[in-house]
């Protein structure tokens, strides 16, 4: 924190920077209050037996234990490709009408629900079919892409547009004056989304799709840590080599092949879909009852009130507490992590180790990190906080490290700690905050899948409702989760606008993607 605040006075006097520091300070204070409210404790006796076995597994990966590792790998890529493409193409079209309030709201709602919850919803309607996995990725990604693409269009240079002669058609104007300005950004951002898509696709295995996560969860649950380590290494390699195998020119071939590789599944029955939509998710007091009868509505209101006071409210509080602490944890860790891959601080080999470290930390599913810490420290919010902070800190650290490479320094620049504290961090600070505020809602969504630790976030209550096959309650809570996310999203946008941060992210996307395309 001292580094955060040790920004030189000259910079502090500039209005924008001082408000950035003020905002940072406020978030740290909020996190401290949350830390006070949070349940944090360390309470284990014999973690070392299990930790020892985990370590042993890490150094003895067993690639032959799982016959299906190849097919799981292929399916992970196939689901990501099909899901993200569908999401990106829909997002592209939605971006053209993103100024419509309903479109904006719909996009914001679909992206506010975690992929895992989408998968669980489609699992009820469609069963374990490829379509479940595709839609679980495509829907939220369409919402995210629509938002980012439309922002890209908004912030594009308008000079070409002004040069278009009067009377040119809409279509040709779009293709010759609008699109070329933003095309690079769109391609690059979509490339970044593919990496996220691979992670999502792997994680969908946790609910039963045949991707890497399926085998990872089993192996981890069974304590077969050599298998776990083989699966994780496979996944790290897949992510780390993405720039070599994911090329625009191969994309067509991949996309044509991908659907054939998804594998079969059970029958999709329209009756099941209809039953889900018209019966299952209707609140129990209203299900099959007379809607004109006021007493049924009274029952519904007391049902909703009970849901709110017993589950939604405590869930919201736990979710916010965890999110705010993890957000600030993420901030500190990204500031600590980015020099590991920055040319400004480390040589070639040092950076290679740094890259390896960041790939490992950001690609290990949070729930595995959390579970390891659960063994170490016992059940409390602590394992979840550390897991979320590490995972997200590595992602933002990675982006910042890339960006720091683009900074031009004077020949007589300082070195080491002085360079870090007086030059690089202040110059990166705007981007850093922008990334954090973008990541805010993501962190909140991720709190949902850590219910296993017994932390009663909204996700925990959703999971309980699904386990009880009370789909009406699950949908009610998912809707509340979505609204909370929408709220955080608009708060984040408001803060970014006030600090004038949005533009910087666009600049960043140009930089990061150039680094990607190399």
């Amino acid at each position: 924190m001292s580094k955060l605040l040790s920004i030189p006075d000259a910079l502090l006097n500039r209005p924008q920077n001082s408000s950035m520091v003020g905002t940072s300070f406020m978030f740290v204070c909020v996190a401290l209050v949350c830390l006070y409210l949070a349940d944090i404790s360390i309470s284990t006796y014999d973690p070392w037996l299990e930790i020892h076995r985990m370590m042993l597994g890490v150094i003895t990966p067993d690639f032959f234990a799982i016959d299906a590792i190849g097919s799981a790998l292929v399916k992970t890529v196939a689901f990501a490709l099909v899901g993200v493409s569908l999401g990106a193409v829909s997002g592209f079209f939605l971006a053209q009408v993103y100024h419509l309030r309903t479109v904006r709201l719909a996009c914001s709602l679909v992206r506010s629900v975690h992929e895992l919850f989408w998968a669980l919803i489609f699992l009820q309607m469609l069963g374990l079919t490829p379509l479940t996995g595709i839609l679980a990725i495509a829907l939220p990604y369409a919402g995210i892409c629509a938002k980012v693409y439309s922002e890209t269009f908004e912030e594009a240079e308008a000079s070409a547009l002004q040069a278009v002669p009067l009377g040119s058609g809409i279509v040709s104007t779009f293709f010759y004056a609008r699109l070329p300005e933003v095309w690079v950004h769109i391609v690059n951002y979509t490339g970044y989304r593919f990496e996220c898509g691979l992670r999502s696709s792997a994680v969908l295995g946790f609910v039963g799709l045949p991707t890497l996560g399926f085998y990872l969860e089993s192996a981890f649950n069974e304590g077969n840590y050599s298998e776990v380590s083989a699966l994780l290494i496979t996944f790290y390699v897949l992510i780390a080599t993405i720039r070599y195998w994911l090329r625009l020119k191969f994309l067509g071939v991949y996309l044509i092949a991908a659907p054939f590789l998804l594998g079969g599944g059970a029958d999709i029955k329209l009756g099941n879909v209809m039953r889900f939509l018209t019966v299952d998710i209707v609140p129990a007091p209203l299900r099959g009852s007379d809607l004109l009868d006021a007493s049924n509505w009274m029952k519904f209101f007391s049902w909703a009130q009970n849901m709110l006071t017993d589950q939604a409210l405590p869930g919201i509080i736990a979710t916010i507490v965890l999110t705010q602490i993890a957000l600030v944890g993420t901030a500190f860790l990204s500031l600590a992590f980015f020099p590991l891959i920055s040319e400004k601080f480390l040589g070639k080999y040092g950076r290679m180790v740094g890259h390896l470290f960041l790939v490992i930390v950001r690609s290990t599913p949070e729930f595995i990190l959390a579970y390891v810490f659960l063994h170490l420290w016992g059940p409390s919010m602590l394992p979840a906080i550390i897991a979320l902070s590490l995972h997200n800190g590595a992602i933002i650290g990675h982006l910042m490290g890339r960006y720091s490479n683009e900074i031009r320094l004077r020949p007589d620049h300082a070195n080491g700690v002085n360079l870090y504290g007086y030059e690089i961090v202040p110059r990166l600070y705007g981007q850093f905050l922008a990334f954090l505020f973008y990541r805010w809602e993501v962190i909140m969504r991720e709190t949902a899948i850590l219910g296993i630790l017994g932390i009663a976030t909204l996700g925990f209550y959703v999971d309980s409702a699904l386990a009880d096959i009370r789909l009406d309650r699950a949908m009610f809570l998912i809707a509340i989760t979505a609204l909370l996310n929408v709220g955080i999203d608009s708060l984040s946008r408001h803060i970014r606008q006030r600090l004038r941060l949005s533009r910087t992210v666009q600049n960043h996307s140009r930089v990061s993607t150039q680094a990607d395309g190399k």
């Binding site: 006796y45 014999d46 009820q124 039963g208 077969n224 044509i256 296993i452 699904l466």
Partner: protein, 297 residues
């Protein structure tokens, strides 16, 4: 690479997505109509389950003369959903998941249970540091400890232990304990209590005995402190519409084949000594308990 024609890329994208979807749809509805599919709740180590149920699939296929397939699922709720959606026609459910599934699918029946399932038990286990010792009476000393159930939808890992906790401590688990967790499955409950991450846990007695035999338990660190009174648990449940799809008398034949399972290897993989006839009414006590603690409305 950026210079590549936008239209070309976009049309390739569309074309492939179009082809993809049209291919994925028929792929997702194969000749499932003549394959008899079953699943099981994921109550313990999955590779063991897979091994066990693939053998069961072979056995059933051989005896029934139809193609039989086992599909693994990741949660109790997913097993119930697959049964409800007719994506599986037979399932190895626990007491609670079976009651839930049968209430959702009219005409479905419990047809067979393990010999041991007539009188199943839950073991309460504790880490040695708690100082709790085995006793015939409910260990009231567990109040205020850090406690873990198994899966949220488990009979032996959730329903019955919660019932006895409420009965004996007069409070919900949330109020009775310092902290309450859901480990996910019985194997993990044992692991987490053994490491002391949780002080006390509730576990399926069959899984405990299996893991003890496999040498995975250090009894100097974790031990049994209480055994619940017996209750009915696991059973094979079949959908009511199978006769229509595989011919009259199919349901009876499935039942007969299950009851006639004699292969020692197969039975010990469950582990059960044999399968005996069961009926829906055998599980009335489970339904009553689930209603009493409001897990079922």
């Amino acid at each position: 690479m950026i210079k590549m024609n936008f239209l070309k890329i976009t049309s390739a994208l569309f074309l492939s997505i179009g082809i993809g979807l049209s291919v994925a749809t028929p792929l997702s509805s194969p000749k499932a109509s003549d394959t008899f599919v079953f699943t099981a709740i994921p109550d313990e180590d999955e590779s063991r389950l897979r091994q066990r149920f693939n053998k069961v699939a072979d056995y059933l296929g051989q005896k029934l003369g139809v193609s039989v397939k086992y599909i693994p699922v990741k949660s109790y709720a997913a097993a119930v959903a697959a049964f409800r959606n007719d994506q599986v026609q037979l399932a190895w459910f626990g007491g609670l998941s079976g009651v839930r599934a049968r209430s959702l699918v009219s005409g479905s029946k419990a047809i067979a249970q393990g010999f041991e399932d007539k009188a199943f038990e839950t073991y309460f286990i504790a880490h040695s540091s708690t100082g709790l010792k085995s006793s015939p009476a409910f260990p009231k000393g567990i109040a205020g400890k850090v406690f873990t159930f198994g899966s949220k939808g488990s009979t032996s890992g959730r329903l019955m232990p919660e019932f006895h906790i409420r009965e004996n401590l007069g409070k919900s688990p949330h109020d009775a304990f310092k902290k309450v967790g859901f480990s996910g499955n019985h194997s993990k409950t044992i692991q987490l209590v053994q490491s002391g991450a949780y002080q006390v846990g509730a576990v399926n007695f069959k899984v405990w005995e299996n893991e003890l035999k496999a040498g995975k338990i250090d009894t100097s660190k974790v031990s049994i402190i209480w055994k619940t009174p017996p209750y009915p648990d696991y059973q094979w449940t079949i959908r009511g519409n199978v006769d229509g799809r595989w011919g009259a008398g199919f349901e009876d034949r499935v039942k007969e084949v299950l009851l006639n399972m004699r292969d020692k290897d197969l039975l010990s993989s469950f582990p059960r000594s044999s399968f005996i006839s069961a009926s829906n009414s055998d599980y009335q006590p489970i339904l009553d308990v689930a209603k009493a603690i409001k897990l079922i409305d």
